[in-house]
Amino acid sequence: MTKSLRKEFFMEIKKSVSRFISIMLIVTLGVAFFAGIRSSSPAMKDSADAQYDKENLMDIRVVGTLGLTETDLSKIREIDGVKEAEGSFTTDFICHVNSKEVVTKVISMPQSINDVKCTEGRYPEQYNECLASREFLEESGLKIGDYMTLKTGTSESIFDTLAAETYTIVGICSSSYFLNGNMGTATVGDGVVDGYVVIPKESFATTVYTSVYLTVDGAKQLNCFGDEYSNLINGVEEKLNEIAENRCEVRYSEVRSQTTELLTKASNKYNSKKAIAESELEKAYQELVDSEEVLNESKKIFEEKKKMLEDAETEIPLSKQRIAEARQTVEQLRKLRSAASVSAEKAESEALTYYNNWKNLAQNGAPEDQVKDAETKYNTLATLAAFYQKQVEDYTEKIDSATKEIEDGEKLINEVQSSLANKDRLLAETEKQISDAEIQLQRGKEQYEIAKQDAVDEFSDAELELRNAETRLNNMEVPEWHVLDRSSIESYASFLTDAQSIGALGTVFPLIFFLVAALVSLTTMTRMVEEQRTQIGTLKALGYSKTSIISKYIMYAFLASLAGCVIGVLIGEFTIPYFILRAYKMAYYNLKQTVVRLNVYSALAASVLAILCTCLASFAACYRELKSAAAELMRPKSPKVGKRILIERMKFIWDRLDFTQKAACRNLFRYKRRFFMTLFGVGGCMALLLVGFGINDSVSSMAKNQYGKIFKYDAVVSVDSTITRAGRRAMISDVQDITEITDFAQAHRSIIYSANNSKQIEDLKYAYLVVPNDAENFENFVAIQPRNGENRGIKNIINLVRGKGTDAATDGLVLGDDGVIITEKYAQLLNVGIGDSIFIRQSESDSACKEVKVSGITENYMFNYIYMSRSLYSYFYGEEPDSNILMIKFDSKADTSAAVDSILKITGITSATLNDEMLEDINSMTGRLVFIIIMMIVAAALLAFVVIYNLNNINISERRRELATIKLLGFYDDEVAKYVYRENIVLTVLGTILGVILGIILHRFVMNTVETDVYMFGRSLKILSVLISAVLTVIFSMLVNVIMYYKLRKIDMVESLKSVE
């Protein structure tokens, strides 16, 4: 470069400061985003590593399935490369506070590794004092100075593990082992650890460590997220695995002998207890049989008495008739008697007459035969009279006896009637006595049955337990050591995932800015070269080489972009990681360190890319011009030729357009580069906004979908796992009595771990195994259906417009016995589809896994679930699943908190969780997304401004002459503006449409990237978000146009008179 050219170069920069700055700014923007987001992930990792080093976090954790002994610990210490090793006790307990069940991890106070810091209060000094984590205190509502009592949550005694069950909280602690509230899963309670407490080591009653933590020599000097660190740790892990087998054999024989002894004792105790219970039951049964006999006897007597009375009743009319007949007989007899007495009197008087006659004759001595005759006559009549007399006497006697009979009969009837009058009362009384006795007997029987059933249940439970214990003992395998590194720490793993998500974001977002930066500098440089055509031609004519001419423009671009790079790197690398770290610290609240270093790699990468882009762009622009001959260059460049476009063929439309509309239409297609760039800039802006709002949509819809659409129940309560069958029956009837509850379902829920192959033992993915008692009714509580239609929201609107109503839920899946139904995210995690097999373990250290086919994949957003039928569960585990949860639906108008209170009062129910509460928690948690959304909006606004401003600027300067002409021709300012804006409006609309498509793709990518193992965000965007984004895009574009308006007004129309430069 000659001296004069150099001078001209600096003059050029001075003269076109705004152009220089515009290139610089777009480069700044691109580089800041690129380098900033790229160095966010390292900054997150550096910060966490610093924190871990400071608090001496373990490098390796050894967990034994049967625990680790002091000997194990000393053997581990001997291993080369182990810096420190420390045994630790960790057990999960349950702490009940105000009818709330807090699943508590109890950890022994570390000496050096996994340092626990007391942030408030003091360290525990007594065996019954503890430090509590912030999460524990929040969950339980306790504070320093309060007492807390632990329960095992199983039938085991707490004193098997701990020396005390009640502890005084003396301080609040934090540990880098738990960077956030995710403390993993527990085997008690609802399976999720709510908080932890730290107690002195001597408070543990056992001598067998649950785990041994160790640190590795030289590990602290390395970043724990790097490969070097992994290699170092892997080396020590291998050595640990080498000694593991031997140690496990020793432990096995130890435990086996202990267990066998214990089991024998338990078995004896059970047998003696069973015998006693059985004899008691027998006695009760005999009593029942006796009382039943008595009852039957009295029933028989009652029946007889009843029969007699009824017989008597039927005889009364008969006796009455007989009496009436007897009366008639008496009457007849009386008549006969009076007739006989008349005849007797007549015969007597005749006899007297004959006697007298005979006597007379005899005295008078009437002939003998006359006397004899009279005597005979008299004798005959006397006999007759005596006969009659006798007859009268007979009748009298008969009458008397009949009368007596009548009297007797009447008396009897009276008696019978009076006794009949009392009959009903009597019978009723007797009957009641009998039925009372019967009820009593029935009750006795029922009680007996219940007692019997209870006893049977209890014994079968106990027997099962014994048998299980026996099987366990028989199946007891040689324990295993699990040698785990930091990735087994939940918060470490999720932090790493988050850091990687940000890293993944860093690969896509900055590219948009970079592309825009490249395009903008290309356009700007092309414009600059075009403007200086004549000058280039002159220089060429003067004999300057192409290189020296080109170097001016390349230097110009280089300096502008270099300045932009420096500013961009400084701003980007020191602000963006800082803000991202701050946002993540809200979630990882125990992360206190902030390490933001200049990331030389991404700074250089961004700078080199940016400088290359602009320099190449300017080279390309110059090169095209320089190919022309000098003479040609000195002549004005022939303006771009007007071209006919397609719409012109449609006369009926074209003829209706005025000339500005026509010009706008042609311009759109004339300046293709500008067309695509604006489209891209506006589209990018729209896409970024859509992603920003879309993140919010996805996260909020996740909770809403989960607790509205998928979980149709309102609350879930945990059932005490030690409950007896009788207790369960009582509990169920108590639940039924609560009026607010409209429906409920019982199910088994536990945590299981699985992988897509049987060999994998590390990095198993956990899920809730849910086994409903009633598979058919379960559909009313949890929607088991495939997710269909990505944008159901939009679909619904279309359907509404068509008057079809919203899309009804699709056909549910059927939970059969041929396989399990797993949730969508889980399928994705395990990388399995329908028909594939998954391998389930009951715990991470479970050595036996069950292979099961996936028969369906269901829509689900939060946490992972495996739904299994009852019979399949029994088939796998040889026992009925324990129904340890109730899913409850409330009346929509009911006071749910009151209902929860009454539920928690029921014996056998340990905790209740309202879905509404979960929803609230999640919604408040998603508040931190606001930051990301703001970042997106700012980025989008910047992008829109830079691109639209630049392009408009170029557009106006390119068409300066044309605009000056129409101004001179008498166009008012607003008419001139309209002439220019019409294109912008069309481009904005087209860009917005393109942005919707881009946004949907980008949104899906982002959501996929930032998702964690247990959440699946919604994939659909709300119409409202699209509208807001579109409105914002239009506003940004309009703002630029407003600024442009002043620029347009400043165009001097006299320019139109000048010759083309």
Partner: protein, 233 residues
């Protein structure tokens, strides 16, 4: 009072500390239907006169009356209206909109005017009826200038201001354009003002205003203007 009158028009530009008088006390009248040529060497102030007369710039002092209106008192908006309704411009470089066809370029002017003339008719009159559908790039320089004249006339203006209308054209074409302007003046009674440095064309004018150093040097009246065909340069 004449149709157009410039009275003591002064225009000063400030270049930093220095004041430059581009136009210094110019006074001349123009009658309706006159063909006037304003002539002078480069830098004499011709363009400033054109700017002021065309309503693109305002005079520092003095009055400019056009058909009874004193345009020197006009604000921006009134000046725009004045340009829109009363002045037709013909540029040295035609200044056609590249993206519009000849007909559309004329329509563009007609659309904003108060009392426009049918664009098709005007194009026919300037002899381009058959090329109405062509884009400027498809036309020769002379044809483009004809479109430019048609565009100016379509507005039906009170005066036609032509800034070096032949400056970018060859001799023959230039002549034909001048002929068109002269014919327009004669046949339509249009007031035509041509600004040029080419003194050779002065014989065709009714009135010649010679400008030198920002002042009117001489005003010549041609009793018998020559037809264009007889002029040569």
């Amino acid at each position: 009072m004449a149709f157009i009158e410039l009275n003591d028009v002064v225009k000063t530009y400030k270049m930093g500390e220095v004041e430059i008088k581009a136009v210094d006390n110019i006074t001349f009248p123009i009658e309706k239907g006159e063909f006037v040529v304003i002539v002078g060497p480069s830098g004499a102030g011709k363009t400033t006169v054109l700017n002021i007369l065309g309503g693109m710039d305002t005079a520092t002092s003095g009055t400019i009356t056009v058909d009874g209106e004193n345009i020197s008192k006009f604000n921006d908006k009134e000046l725009t209206r004045y340009r829109r309704d009363e002045v037709g411009f013909v540029f040295q470089f035609y200044n056609l909109i590249q993206n519009l066809t000849a007909a559309e370029n004329v329509e563009m002017a007609a659309q904003i005017a108060n009392n426009p003339i049918d664009p098709a008719k005007i194009l026919g009159e300037v002899g381009l009826g058959s090329r109405a559908g062509n884009f400027p790039s498809q036309l020769s320089g002379g044809e483009q200038q004809r479109v430019s004249i048609a565009r100016a006339l379509a507005k039906n203006p009170k005066l036609l201001l032509c800034d070096e209308p032949t400056g970018a054209l060859d001799y023959i074409t230039g002549k034909s354009i001048l002929k068109l302007l002269q014919d327009t003046c004669r046949e339509k009674g249009m007031t035509v003002i041509v600004i040029t440095h080419n003194t050779a064309i002065t014989p065709m004018a009714d009135k010649i205003v010679q400008i030198k150093n920002g002042q009117v040097d001489r005003i010549l009246i041609n009793a018998e203007p020559k037809p264009v065909e007889q002029i040569e340069w």
